[in-house]
């Protein structure tokens, strides 16, 4: 029985503490749309992976077992995104003066890393399979791959609106998002044409290793979200952009893998093209690597405390305007960095004349930078000649 009222903190036994914490997390997850979606998709993925694992053990098929391992790996990516979306809403406290908002960027970065590692492993397996082509058995994998494809399509549909689609929202914001969207879009359109021109659907890893596999379907999810700008749920999707970006890339990678297995099963049965298989794995891994690069670049920029790309042109202008203020001799030591999406923080030092009106300078400086989009600013005033 759960306690109905919790009054004495010191006397709470440990078991109830845990229950309360966990139920608190559940409530937090279910409260927000994005984390709700993530949670349900995670459950779906997990149950599918378990079913696959049990079926593989029962039918003694190593291919199915390793495929289920891949699904478990994807579940960790989902878990990271989910954890980040919950953690980033926690309040700031003594240990985290800015709160936990950075957790999302970190989750996006870690998901990107996972994808790079996955691509690397697939590549090495492709190489291995090219050197010693194994026997390929498809019969049991086909229905599983189709089921996996359906699960991933559900994921794409659910997260398609959340991952992208916010290329508007004010000038200051437009840049950073279009940087991400633009480069991603570019990478994807490229792949889109490539995929379709060559009728080349990246069949991938089979039988004894990975029936599941990974890859990219460019014509699919991304093409859509770029052509239709989304105006609804704009802000909430912006906040969770980092959680969802990595998750989305992961799901898309899986989808093409499943499609690839289906296509290559067909190809192998009809045309007996054994050598195409490792080549496809290598191509898929390269594609995954390439598509992750924008996500990684942006998250690394934020984590390395780089000046926000959106402000790259606005800042020198602001510096000039501040230096033209009456009484300001010099602007020194500017540091601007991104805390999380669209939250910029800046510090700078102003060298002012002894008779300058400090208050006026401070408020003017704040105005100038607020117009550029930096709302959290710390301006240190150093009076010259003292």
């Amino acid at each position: 029985m759960l306690p109905l009222s919790i009054k004495d903190d010191e006397y709470k036994p440990a078991k109830f503490n845990l229950l309360v914490k966990v139920s608190g997390w559940f409530r937090s997850i279910l409260a927000d749309k994005t984390s709700r979606n993530l949670f349900f998709f995670l459950c779906l993925n997990l149950s599918f992976a378990f079913v696959e694992l049990l079926y593989g053990i029962w039918s003694n098929s190593l291919g199915l077992i390793s495929d289920s391992f891949h699904m478990f790996f994807d579940c960790t990516a989902l878990l990271a995104g989910l954890a980040a979306s919950v953690i980033s809403r926690w309040r700031s406290n003594d240990s985290f003066s800015y709160g936990y908002v950075r957790a999302e960027v970190l989750a996006g970065f870690v998901n990107g890393l996972f994808l790079i590692f996955t691509a690397f492993f697939i590549f090495s397996e492709g190489v291995e399979r090219a050197l010693e082509p194994p026997d390929v058995h498809h019969e049991r994998l086909l229905p599983v791959s189709i089921a996996g494809l359906l699960v991933n399509l559900v994921g794409i549909f659910v997260f398609q609106h959340g991952g992208h689609g916010h290329s508007h929202g004010g000038e200051g914001h437009g840049h950073s998002h279009s940087l991400f969207n633009g480069t991603v879009g570019h990478g994807h359109d490229h792949g889109h044409d490539h995929g379709h021109d060559h009728g080349h659907d990246h069949g991938h890893g089979h039988s004894h290793d990975h029936g599941h596999g990974h890859g990219h379907d460019h014509g699919h999810g991304h093409g859509h979200s770029h052509q239709e700008p989304h105006c609804h749920g704009k802000k909430s999707s912006k906040v969770h952009m980092w959680c969802l970006a990595g998750v989305f890339l992961h799901i898309v990678a899986d989808t093409l893998g499943s499609v690839g297995v289906i296509i290559s099963a067909f190809l192998m049965q009809k045309y007996n093209l054994m050598i195409a298989d490792p080549i496809c794995s290598m191509l898929i891994s390269i594609l995954i690597g390439v598509s992750v690069v924008p996500l990684l670049r942006e998250s690394i920029g934020i984590l390395m405390q780089r000046t926000p790309p959106a402000l790259d042109y606005a800042l020198p202008e602001c510096y000039q305007r501040v230096q033209q203020l009456q009484g300001v001799y010099n602007l020194q030591d500017p540091h601007f960095w991104t805390l999380c999406t669209d939250i910029y923080i800046g510090t700078l030092k102003l060298l002012v004349a002894p008779d300058a009106d400090t208050r006026w300078i401070l408020s003017q400086t704040h105005n100038i930078f607020t117009q550029a989009g930096v709302r959290q600013l710390y301006v240190q005033i150093d009076v010259a000649g003292m």
């Binding site: 390793s66 809403r89 003594d94 970065f109 590692f117 984590l303 030092k349 401070l362 710390y378």
Partner: protein, 332 residues
């Protein structure tokens, strides 16, 4: 005598070469423990690369217009990448071990495994010997670069952080050594106990020891992951007590109130603090500013930005609580 970079490079090549050897041997002999030890070596290679990169960038501390803090955070990022990579490897090995349980495999040519394992152990010990003096020295050197008048307290603090570093290195090398020992033990048991008619529990030894190695690997990696993740999350450094600091700041002469106090760690021992300070009027501000700067210096925080606010300000720039604003913006 080799310089620090030279030592790192030599160790890097040695470890990388040995990693290749171990991978090849594990393929030849189908020994899973050898494979996991080879991944352990790979992670050593990566952490050496990270150390090289960190040292290189730490010396190049000038900021550019895009990277105003310079590349100092590269060290933390590298540590995070290393930790994530290791944890991924842990899971991979774990899964392969579970696969071995369902389809047990015997080790071919266990003698090679024994020899290679022993050489691996030697390489690990050699690395420990090489870096015993190095890790402590680099910490001190960085601290000296940063501040001219080091107070005694600061020295003690940097001592403890380099000790933490040494402890991390020691744990890592211990984990390596244990891994090599496990490989050798496994192969030894296999050599002396295995006959085709022998009990098949020997076959299950390989994956079991592997799982043990994974646990060791995980145990030594997790603190690294946690620490670098916390730094990247802009946490207040462990040695700083915010309440205490806040109280001491408020008790300084001329300080009416403190808002928006944020303290975070850039990397290593570089800590950055920003705050809004409310005082009486601009005339007395310069003294207050000096006092605050000295106070932060004593605490070991050298990069501070303090914005003055004056008590007659009703429409000052800090009319709302910034953290609340961040939270509001994040939620809507």
């Amino acid at each position: 005598m080799l310089g620090r970079n030279g030592r790192l490079l030599w160790m890097l090549f040695l470890t990388f070469g040995f990693f290749i050897v171990e991978v090849v041997v594990s393929r030849m002999t189908a020994s899973l423990t050898m494979l996991s030890d080879s991944f352990h070596m790979l992670s050593d290679v990566i952490s050496l690369v990270v150390a090289l990169v960190a040292v290189h960038f730490a010396e190049k501390t000038q900021g550019t217009s895009k990277n105003t803090f310079g590349w100092i955070r590269a060290e933390v990022m590298g540590a995070l990448v290393n930790a994530v990579f290791l944890i991924t490897l842990c899971f991979t090995i774990l899964l392969e071990a579970i696969g071995r349980y369902t389809k047990p495999h015997e080790i071919e040519n266990p003698q090679i495994v024994i020899w290679v394992g022993l050489i691996g152990l030697l390489v690990n010990l050699f690395g420990l010997f090489l870096f015993h003096g190095h890790a402590g020295a680099s910490e001190h050197r960085l601290d000296d670069q940063m501040n001219d008048d080091t107070s005694l307290e600061l020295e003690l603090r940097s001592e403890s952080s380099s000790q933490l570093n040494m402890r991390g290195v020691f744990l890592h090398v211990l984990g390596d050594a244990l891994g090599s020992i496990i490989v050798v033990v496994n192969a030894l048991i296999f050599t002396f106990v295995w006959k085709p008619s022998a009990p098949c529990w020997v076959l299950y030894l390989d994956p079991t020891l592997c799982i043990m190695m994974v646990v060791i690997l995980f145990y030594t990696t997790f603190p690294l992951l946690k620490e670098s993740a916390l730094i990247l999350l802009q946490t207040v450094p462990k040695q700083i007590n915010m309440q205490q600091l806040d109280g001491k700041l408020r008790s300084l002469e001329g300080v009416l109130a403190i808002h928006e106090l944020h303290i975070w760690q850039l990397a290593g021992s570089r800590i950055i603090a920003t705050a809004h300070v409310q005082c009486h009027d601009p005339a007395s501000y310069m003294d207050v500013a000096k006092r605050i700067k000295n106070f932060f210096h004593d605490e070991g925080i050298h990069a501070t930005t303090v914005q003055p606010e004056f008590s007659s300000d009703t429409t000052g720039p800090c009319s709302k609580n910034i953290s609340k604003r961040i939270k509001n913006e994040a939620e809507h």
